[in-house]
């Protein structure tokens, strides 16, 4: 009879051989063929080539192939980069290929490796012992190795960028300048100041790729590749994005990207912070008023442009008023202040008071004055004739006149359309009768709002204008609220 365990003995033989083979293979692979070991063997050859004097021979003699790491508990870093980058502090290693080359000396002078490690500046996976994982571009690691030109972004972890030698942080500085020039603050907040349409950017540099929409980006997926592509074409990267295309060159997109990456609120022990960084943090606690012109450029320009022309904004499906033209000439400073501080609820115009857009009361006053001081406003001032008193009108008549003359642009019952919404509570509270009358009478230069009364008196009479104003005032009263809401939904439905 056949031996009942014959099959099992053969099986045991073969499985044992396989197991033994793979155990041996694994032992060799894990213990002898690690990438860092191969790198260090190659480095030892370099050491041997350069061992021309006694010091060099001693270095060669003392060289051990072993795992090297910089442990910096204060920064939570255990960086093993030096296991392959063995020559970063050997001044002779200037003509050798990476990863053996000398690190730029002047940086290491101020940032000794044993105190700072590597990843605080370069990012990347410090724990890794092979280059693929250390670079971590397609590894499971939140902060992959930064490309060389973007490494300057991490300086801002500990430094105030304005106190660094400008030639070392050119990209970040250019990005900062562009941020202001492109008026990014109109929609984005930094340190509590800015618009509310886009996300706040205070910690943008520490976002991981998983917090971004990568669908339309081609791999490799990194935050900086995303930012660069996004600055070139926001809606192309984030479908449906309302972000205005900043129209930048490749280089400018890179600079903006560097600036974005420099926005990092990393908790670093105080002893690591440069004194200017600490001063910067203190300054942020009690912001000083900025000049109005700079404020306008930073927080208004993206939507209002230079304020001379009103325009139709396609993305918002809304009319954006010219705020430095006849409006500023007609309106009082208080009216403008209210508009800036309170915004226009229901539109893209956010409130800018200190709890919202973060502007100081002083700054808002300065901005209002700035608007009124524009050349267009000044030249229009003589048209204003604000002194003419407005008689008490009749709202019912005013409604008929409104429907005939105004509703085409401002919507039935003033809900807005091509032209701004007039039934807006903030607007009606802030706008006094003479402001409304002047505006209707003279129109708004450089916008679609025509003058409804010519200098010779043709067009609407003063009484008719008073009737319209009475009608507008009636929109404010609570009894009109429901009618308004119905109107609004009807207008919304018909669009």
């Amino acid at each position: 009879m056949k031996d009942p365990s014959r099959l099992y003995r053969w099986m045991l033989l073969w499985t044992s051989l396989v197991a033994l083979g793979f155990l041996l293979a694994a032992a060799v692979r894990e213990n002898l063929l690690a990438e860092w070991q191969q790198r260090q063997r190659a480095y030892r050859k370099l050491l041997a080539e350069k061992a021309t004097d006694a010091r060099g021979r001693e270095l060669l003699r003392n060289f051990r192939i072993e795992l090297r790491q910089v442990s910096v508990p204060a920064l939570g870093a255990v960086d093993r980069c030096v296991s392959c980058h063995v020559g970063i502090d050997d001044p002779r290693m200037t003509d050798v290929p990476q990863p053996y080359r000398l690190h730029p000396v002047e940086i290491l002078e101020h940032h000794p490796v044993d105190r700072y490690g590597c990843t605080i500046c370069h990012q990347g996976q410090g724990a890794a012992t092979n280059f693929h994982d250390a670079k971590a571009e397609d590894a499971y690691w939140d902060y992959p190795l930064l490309p060389r030109e973007l490494t300057q972004a991490t300086c801002m972890t500990c430094h105030d960028v304005s106190r660094l030698p400008p030639q070392d942080v050119t990209l970040v500085l250019e990005g900062m300048r562009l941020y202001e020039q492109k008026s990014c603050g109109s929609c984005h907040k930094l340190q509590g100041r800015g618009g509310a349409l886009g996300p706040a950017l205070d910690n943008e540099g520490l976002k991981t790729k998983h917090q971004l929409i990568l669908t339309n980006l081609k791999p490799p997926y990194t935050t900086w590749r995303w930012h660069q592509a996004h600055f070139r074409d926001p809606a192309g990267i984030v479908p449906g994005s309302q972000m205005k295309n900043p129209t930048v060159t490749e280089r400018e997109a890179l600079a903006l990207t560097a600036y974005m990456l420099s926005l990092r609120q990393r908790d670093v022990p105080e002893s690591y912070l440069a004194p200017d960084k600490i001063a910067q943090k203190f300054r942020a606690l009690s912001p000083q008023p900025q000049p109005a012109e700079q404020l306008y450029r930073m927080y208004c320009f993206a939507c209002h442009g230079d304020g001379t022309y009103g325009r139709w904004e396609k993305t918002f499906q809304r009319f954006i008023p010219a705020i430095r033209g006849t409006l500023a000439a007609t309106a009082t400073r208080e009216y403008l202040e209210t508009q800036i501080a309170q915004g226009r609820p229901g539109t893209q115009m956010p409130p800018w008071h200190s709890q919202a857009g973060g502007l100081l009361p002083k700054e808002i006053t300065a901005l209002a004055d700035y608007l009124r001081a524009s050349p267009a406003a000044r030249s229009a001032r003589d048209l204003a004739a604000r002194s003419r008193p407005v008689a008490r009108g009749d709202a019912a008549r005013g409604q008929m006149l409104f429907l005939r003359n105004c509703a085409g642009c401002h919507g039935v019952a003033g809900v807005g359309g091509v032209a701004p919404e007039l039934a807006n509570p903030v607007f009606l509270r802030a706008a006094d009768d003479s402001f409304l009358a002047t505006t209707i009478r003279n129109g708004r230069a450089a916008t679609a709002m025509p003058a409804f009364q010519r200098p010779d008196g043709a067009g609407l009479s003063d009484a008719e204008i008073a009737d319209i104003i009475a009608f507008l005032r009636s929109l404010e009263s609570p009894s009109q609220q429901t009618a308004q809401a119905q109107d609004k939904s009807r207008a919304g439905g018909s669009q």
Partner: protein, 521 residues
């Protein structure tokens, strides 16, 4: 060996001491191995088995049917041995692992990059865990389809069920330990499944007064969200409590195999003819006047070697070879997988960045699919029904017959095939329907949640399977066949749902044909 070195009467103690010292290696070897060489007679083979704590788990002789690879497929052994591998690699990992949210992830990285062969050891641990879960499920299916749960083995079936639950619990608790994104969100999903009674209590509006879901979740996590408390809880469960329970249950499981007369096999009629080794043999018929104890077999009056009339062979060496072969097979497969495929380790756990899709460990994905329809039904009711149903099988099907034979009852194979088809059509059909047409909430957005708890693809599947089983009961007039119908459907449903949720569910639990089509986040 066997000869005792005689100590001469007239020697000094010094001489005796020196002699003993000289003979120390040999005596040590004798003390250690006792027999000192491989057993040669069956008597010695028997002694080798029952004089050894570990080997005496076996009976001295083993039936040839039991040795056939086709009966058990070695599944129970594979599960046991992968557990052994898990214990050994787990102890090694424990030396380096630090169960704290601040350190756990970094210690995983150290194991991966710095500990000598640490990555390989962790891979083995991961793969052995997968193999163990698969083997335990397959072993249960094997025991069911060979009707090996029948009297007197009902209790051992229950013990096995306990082992299944413990295995899943062990694997699940191990999932959190790396504290990466995968761990964090899989555990969050698991905790939400524990929280699932909330769906019912919320729908009834009684959660503020009676909240078993919240209690279960807090019991599991030690907090409201996954964090430090959960990690230490899972760690203690994973490295101490659950393995201890598993070892205890495993011992009972093996002990019961011995006490229940070895692995289930058809009874050879005493005195009749039975086929083994390709020939017909007369089956050993015990004399009515004689008591056959174990020692009677061992003491020389024993059946002839290798052609014993009762169809058995000596456990040493035959069963031992078989077990060693399965042990090495398990190890070899684990090693090969571990050599080529690394255990996953994602980014460090980040409560602010949810994984999308966040998926539970694969063996819970079938449940997660059901939970996506109704948390209460999928997370509590259906698993309870499944475990209870499995536990009741040996108590509802008590007619002997077919033990130890694959599909041993007449008509069983047909029913199994039909049920396979039925289960497949039902599960795939329901999934396809739900993907294409949605469910009650899509059609009646205002509907009360209680309706959805009651009527959802999960509960309908349970009803379909139960109906099919009852129909088989009536149609075939056999409890066993009804059980086969139900069990097959359960198995098919489990496999299909697990596969579906693994492969075809993407971000926001949307349907995708392949993971490569997922939008990148």
């Amino acid at each position: 060996m066997g000869t005792t070195a005689t100590i001469p009467e007239k020697t000094s103690a010094t001489q005796e001491f020196l002699d003993n010292l000289r003979q120390l290696p040999r005596n040590l070897k004798d003390a250690w191995f006792r027999l000192g060489r491989l057993p040669e007679s069956e008597r010695e083979e028997s002694q080798a088995t029952f004089h050894n704590l570990f080997l005496h788990l076996h009976s001295v002789r083993v039936h040839l049917r039991t040795l056939r690879p086709s009966l058990t497929l070695g599944l129970g052994l594979i599960a046991t041995f992968s557990f052994l591998v898990l214990v050994i690699t787990g102890l090694l990992l424990m030396i380096y692992y630090k169960p704290s949210t601040a350190l756990a992830y970094q210690s995983m990285k150290d194991i991966h990059y710095v500990v000598a062969t640490g990555r390989f050891i962790r891979n083995i641990h991961r793969w052995a865990a997968h193999i163990m879960v698969i083997a335990v499920f397959a072993h249960m299916a094997r025991v069911f389809f060979t009707a090996s749960y029948k009297k007197p083995r009902e209790f051992n079936w229950l013990v096995g069920l306990g082992l299944l639950v413990l295995t899943l619990a062990l694997s699940f608790t191990g999932y959190l330990l790396p504290y990466d994104q995968l761990a964090y969100w899989a555990t969050t999903i698991g905790a939400n499944i524990a929280n699932s009674p909330r769906e019912l209590t919320d729908a009834l509006g009684i959660t503020p007064y009676f909240d078993p879901g919240g209690f279960q979740k807090r019991l599991l996590l030690g907090a409201n969200t996954v964090g430090e408390d959960s990690l230490i809880r899972f760690y203690v469960l994973h490295v101490f409590i659950l393995p201890l329970l598993l070892v205890i249950l495993l011992s009972v499981h093996f002990w019961r195999i011995r006490k229940d007369g070895g692995l289930a096999r058809p009874e050879d009629p005493p005195g009749g003819l039975a086929e083994w080794g390709g020939k017909l043999h007369r089956v050993f018929e015990p004399l009515a006047t004689k008591t056959y104890g174990l020692m009677a077999v061992v003491r020389g009056r024993r059946p002839p070697v290798n052609r014993g009339p009762e169809g058995t062979v000596m456990s040493w060496p035959h069963l031992l070879w078989a077990e060693l072969a399965v042990l090495m097979l398990t190890i070899a497969v684990t090693l090969v997988l571990s050599f080529y495929i690394d255990a996953p380790l994602k980014e460090i756990a980040n409560p602010a960045v949810p994984e999308n899709p966040a998926k539970a460990p694969w063996y819970f994905l079938g449940l997660q699919e059901l939970v996506s329809y109704s948390a209460f039904m999928g997370g509590l009711v259906i698993p309870t029904i499944a475990v209870l149903g499995l536990a009741l099988i040996p108590f509802l099907d008590r007619r002997p017959g077919g033990e130890g034979l694959w599909f041993g009852t007449p008509g069983e194979r047909t029913v199994a095939w039909q049920s396979l088809l039925f289960g497949l059509v039902c599960t795939v059909g329901l999934l396809a329907f739900t993907v294409n047409f949605g469910w009650l909430r899509n059609w009646f957005p205002e509907i009360h949640q209680l309706w959805i708890i009651a009527i959802n693809p999960g509960s309908i599947l349970v009803l379909l399977f139960a109906g099919w089983s009852l129909w088989t009961l009536k149609r075939k007039n056999s409890v066993r066949l009804a059980a086969v119908a139900l069990f097959t459907c359960f198995l098919v449903g489990f496999v299909v749902l697990t596969y579906f949720a693994t492969v075809h569910r993407g971000p926001n639990w949307q349907f995708y044909w392949w993971p490569s089509q997922w939008p990148v986040h």
